[in-house]
Symmetry: C2
Subunit: 471 residues, 2 copies
């Protein structure tokens, strides 16, 4: 069984693989370094010696010895009977951020259903490594100089072809700007729109509050615009006075709906009427399970839609690599912003992704993730049907999360969430993503499942059911 | 002999290495692709068939055949007798930027003395490749997730130790923010200062106009502040009313002076008196040839000085990897800006650099570059003494460029520069870096030499002397 917290112990695996005579010392060094570097945050509860020895495949004696040694040195702290914890002597000001970085959550979180992360163990390490090697062997020296702020020409061509094929966009390589992801695409566009005199951007309600934070950093206010089951409602949009919106029409975040054709057309009519722009955040357009992919909105009007996507869900967020397709009228300003922000993305990473896309490895990776995520989604649906019958699930056709509406008879939302948390299951209510507070007694959850193995998904839902069941 | 323009032909080398029976076709394909992708910009003059055949180690017949085929297809354009050029049929909107990216300068530039680029052929490809492989083998899965916007803890620790040792800074890893380079450090600081109500930043005169452009993108005006041979003159600084300045005290750009101890102290006194900040752009502090390194200004007052550096001169600008040390009072705002700009730097690159620094490979690379650049500097000084006697050279103790003052008897500046350009030598006059227009008849040049082999350096100066000598 795998949980978020346990992933941190993986830093000890190389030590466990050391030759027998050096294994004990290697383990102690790795543990010390993990504490010193913040990978193991102060306050993290260490597993039992038996459990860790089992996970690492080493003798329990070695682990006990390592715990004792590091406790003596102050790296660990042992509360007799209560277990062993990471001490705070080694570092003074780390804390929260490091813990988040390491994925080492508070010890009580055993299953984390909060959405937003893909399964990082699916990252194709050896294929990526091979592409890195190939790139360093062939890249001409001048390519290592200051980059084109728009991105490496070979990557822009490869991405344009891939996006045209997969997402139905109109992708001219000359209009494609390589950037660090959808967040940077949002900030780039925000600065450009602000410089043109816009004061606010509309965001979907429910939607991602992060969009609002990013635009706020560029000096733009955000206005929540209500959705219904077809997409943005036209009247509030027209009445809002904004001239730019951010939308997720292929698989709306978080509701999971796919916008209707009518609403897509209405949004573009609106954009043309107000001389405005639409930012299409295609954050999980690559993952679709039961039906044909929904083409991107941008294909309908590339002069009004700024399209943005990234490798964060398909490969890894840590690569910080994405793209944006920009209308001609905004292109020069977006490129100049990109230039002053960072002069352009790192060249080697861009060349590696170009290699990856061109050789078909990117398509293979998407198919691989797709299979894994569908299996997890099916595990989630089965577990909900078995353990929390009556729950209505939507947004299941695509993406890395679903919306679950749990009937009121499982208890009021506050109690439901508190009980789940006590049982070590992190859940995020839909209310955190917008302004709606229905008060009908139902619990509405945004459940992310893609980063969890099927057995962990089932176990998590079972824990919730047991916790809310006992009164 | 190697020149900037020639480096572009390296993209053809893999084709030249193809088996004999496929070599002709591979060469044509590579050439076609180079034109299509913009690596060979429209208007680039192709080498003679004899020269290219020699460079690539293939028969001249193959090159002639490739030229004829691609001319027939419209990729190349042949002006009988005058040579062969890259045509403009294949692409419509590329042009300037691509030409810059590829280092493929206008056909008439044979030796390019413009400063700013290191020798990209010194990039340690195999060591970097080995570090990439090691990182992908050991990095725990959670490290591939969304990064800490401040940077990877292991890199911040490695850089802090390295900078403390090499540059005499006060480098707390908690105050170090990994960023994409000095340009991004400037933009980050600019946004933070603008949000605090500052309206303008002072820049050195002479200095780098790029600083002004970067701050302008954050809404800040720039004020030129005069230098003398010791550093910023105190009275104009005090009278300017600015509360922030950007300086290059270790090896001032472009004048090459090292600020005196008095002026360093006076600047910090000023910063404390006005509650202001100093951005120290340590763009080439790693390269020092004849005397002990000058420690960074930041070491004297880490609460008033924001220190910024990068790997652009030591490894490659294309890596887009740098660092900034930030006073406690500004830290949270800088980190939040970094977060909204790009969420943090790519994780794999950071881990590779950490590996590189920790294993001593970074120090080795600096020593290697140092030796190569000193040899080139010496070649430049010899060539100036031989071919343009009477020239006074300064700023020679460090860095990748010098200032050369050529006496008036070689002709007025306009004629001097025009003749050099006609002879295929690109030179940049000091006047382009500030407001001074001395009018004393001397030619003041900022000569970058680090990217040129010693024989190219000598050849370039000889060409200039011949060109300005014939009346």
């Amino acid at each position: 069984m795998r949980s978020q917290g346990q992933a941190a112990w993986e830093v000890l695996l190389p030590a466990a693989a050391a030759p027998a005579r050096r294994r004990g010392r290697a383990l102690q060094e790795a543990l010390r370094e993990a504490v010193r570097s913040g990978r193991l945050a102060a306050g993290t509860r260490m597993p039992s010696t038996r459990a860790l020895a089992g996970d690492l495949g080493v003798s329990r004696g070695l682990v006990t010895e390592a715990y004792e040694q590091l406790t003596a040195e102050g790296y660990l702290r042992s509360d007799r009977g209560a277990g062993t914890w990471v001490g705070d002597a080694a570092r003074s000001r780390h804390g929260g951020t490091h813990a988040r970085w390491a994925g080492a959550s508070a010890p009580e979180v055993r299953v984390d259903f909060r959405p937003g992360t893909p399964d990082l163990s699916l990252f194709p390490r050896s294929a990526w490594s091979a592409a890195q090697r190939a790139v360093l062997a062939r890249l001409p020296h001048p390519a290592l100089g200051y980059p084109d702020p728009r991105g490496l020409p070979e990557l822009r061509q490869a991405l344009a072809a891939m996006l045209t094929r997969r997402r139905g966009v109109v992708a001219d390589p000359e209009r494609l700007v390589v950037c660090s992801g959808v967040a940077q695409a949002s900030t780039l566009l925000g600065f450009v729109l602000r410089a043109r005199g816009l004061a606010a951007v509309g965001i979907e309600d429910p939607g991602s509050p992060e969009h609002g934070r990013l635009f706020a950093s560029t000096g733009l206010d955000t206005v929540w615009l209500p959705l219904d089951e077809e997409g943005l409602r036209p009247e509030p949009l027209a009445a809002s006075g904004v001239r730019a919106v951010v939308v997720t029409p292929s698989h709306q975040f978080p509701s999971g709906i796919s916008w209707s054709a009518e609403r897509r057309a209405a949004l573009l009519d609106w954009a043309r009427a107000v001389d405005g722009y639409v930012l299409e955040d295609d954050y999980d357009g690559d993952f679709r399970y039961d039906r044909a992919p929904v083409g991107a909105l941008q294909g309908l009007d590339p002069e009004r839609v700024v399209y943005a996507g990234s490798v964060s869900k398909s490969l890894a967020p840590g690569l910080r690599l994405g793209w944006t397709l920009v209308p001609e009228a905004l292109l020069a300003e977006v490129v100049e912003r990109k230039r002053t922000m960072d002069l352009g993305n790192p060249v080697l990473d861009q060349a590696v992704l170009a290699e990856f896309v061109t050789r078909g490895a990117y398509d293979r990776q998407l198919r691989h993730c797709q299979r894994a995520y569908r299996e997890r989604r099916d595990a989630l649906l089965s577990a909900l049907a078995e353990h929390l019958p009556g729950t209505v699930v939507s947004g299941i056709a695509a993406g890395l999360h679903v919306i679950a509406r749990v009937p009121g008879h499982y208890g009021p939302p506050e109690r439901f969430l508190a009980r789940a948390a006590e049982a070590g299951v992190a859940l995020r209510p839909l209310e955190e993503y917008g302004t709606a507070r229905p008060g009908d007694g139902e619990v509405r959850l945004v459940i992310g499942y893609a980063h969890l193995a099927p057995t962990v998904v089932s176990d998590g839902i079972r824990r919730v059911a047991e916790a809310v069941g006992r009164e």
